[in-house]
Amino acid sequence: MPADLSASPGSGRGGGLVLLVLLVIALFACTAFMTVGVTGGWAFVLQLRAVKLAALLLVGCAIALATVLFQTVSGNRILTPSIMGFDALYILIQTAAVFAIGTSGLNLIDKRLLFVGQAALMTAFAALLYRWLFTGAMRSLHLLLLAGVVLGMLFRSLANILQRMIDPNEFVVLQDRFFASFNTVDTTLLGVAAVITAVAAIAIWRMRATLDVLGLGRDAAIALGVPYKRTTMTALLLVAVLTSTSTALVGPVAFFGLLVANLAYALIPSHRHALTLPAAALIAVICLVGGQTVLERVFAFNTALAIIVEFLGGIVFLFMLVRGAVR
């Protein structure tokens, strides 16, 4: 869309170039991921890795888009959906499911059905919570943070109680799901997750000009004729869908979204979502795919990517807090 890209000549110059560079790096990372250190049958290895790569791409895009969208709607650059108690809800749902029907019972149910059910539940909850927080009479950022933290604590405590009451063996199985892992992605869910993510991504892309206006804040957005309530609700619903999809795929990742979104803001000299959204997604892909390649092939240890990403993301979060980026 050339008319769209030249929309504001003031900033955004060089943004296209940055995107191109990111795209090249991302493609390079993907190629490296697929081809480095292949021994034995290519067909077998490529197929194995392609599935894994698809999962990484999906999760990266979902988290990046959800975070940028959430930050635009909430008007700040430090909140992410997962800081708002999302991971705690994931843990609670998992625990409650095991508590109710046991791991053996869970294994009998179709995984895709379980996945869709969990995603739907998380989406419904998030929509309810955000609706109350954002469109009610109270709209303070601090209230929002507080509510997220308190709800997160509530979910965690509930999950803790349930965990104490279940069979220790079941608990071990359960515990395994609470740590994000980019290695043990459930491949049966990829198809469903891909469809959901793609639909959400298209919806977000179509909203991009409106999102730019939302970035000016509620009052300015309304003054410029954005139907505020409807738009924020749609956006928050999309955030919920994307976050629950990525959480269901790899487990909770708290700071990854924060990391990629803020890298995107730093690299792209523009406020325009036509640039920041793809940039954040590409950076996420580079981090995940590149990081996984390096860890697997160069250092030959397999499970630490989530920890490293969270470590870096946590540092960024602290840095932003100290620098006073929350206003």
Binding site: M1, G10, G217, I222, A223, L224, G225, P227, H271
Partner: protein
Amino acid sequence: MIEIRDVRKSYGDAAVVQGVNLTLPRGGVTAIIGPNGAGKSTLLTMIGRLLPMTSGQILVDGMDVTHAASNALARRLSILRQDNHIAARLTVRDLVAFGRYPHSHGRLTREDGVHVARALEFLGLTHLADRFLDELSGGQRQRAHVAMVVCQDTDYILLDEPLNNLDMKHAVGMMQLMRRMADDLGKTIVVVLHDINFASCYADHIVAMRDGRVIREGAPAAIMTADAMRAIYDIDMHIEEIGGDRIGVFYRQPTRD
């Protein structure tokens, strides 16, 4: 024409604005004045549909602000509030270009570009167009926001205390600008002002509020009297005519015990 019919805004039992009936004619500069907490800004934000009213109705050219399509209203009426913090890093030109959103929805045409350039020039910001907002002084940033409103090119422009944080020179500049928008561009300006003398010198019409009600309304000459000022602000004001304008002097008040 802006018609305000029996509008009330209350939080719990406390009414901030009540029983306001007002008709603001097209064209000219209307100043809303009154002491702190009189409900001036509340009324203005309700006209600009940023705040829902508890009861009553506000019509802008016959469109009910509560029910009309937000986008259709945005082509007729624009509003600028005092506090305009923006998280994203924007240049002046970016900000001003946002004023075209109601018309072009993010796809700027050549005509939109002309509007942007004209608004920048109207506010004397052309040389600052590519500077980032956070690199500007408070007065320049204020002007950039006004430029966005000008660029929105609506018949009605609502401004909430636009003189806040401006020094005397820039305050005068802002008032002259409102006059030019009304006289040269034919806009209808509704502005909340604290400085009674600016209202007296620049407005065509003054609406005075107190305790959520409109208590006086009329031309500056009718409002700028010692009686009216006592009723509105509860202070004794000495009114002088200087160079054809009525100026209120109120800096020394008899100390009461």
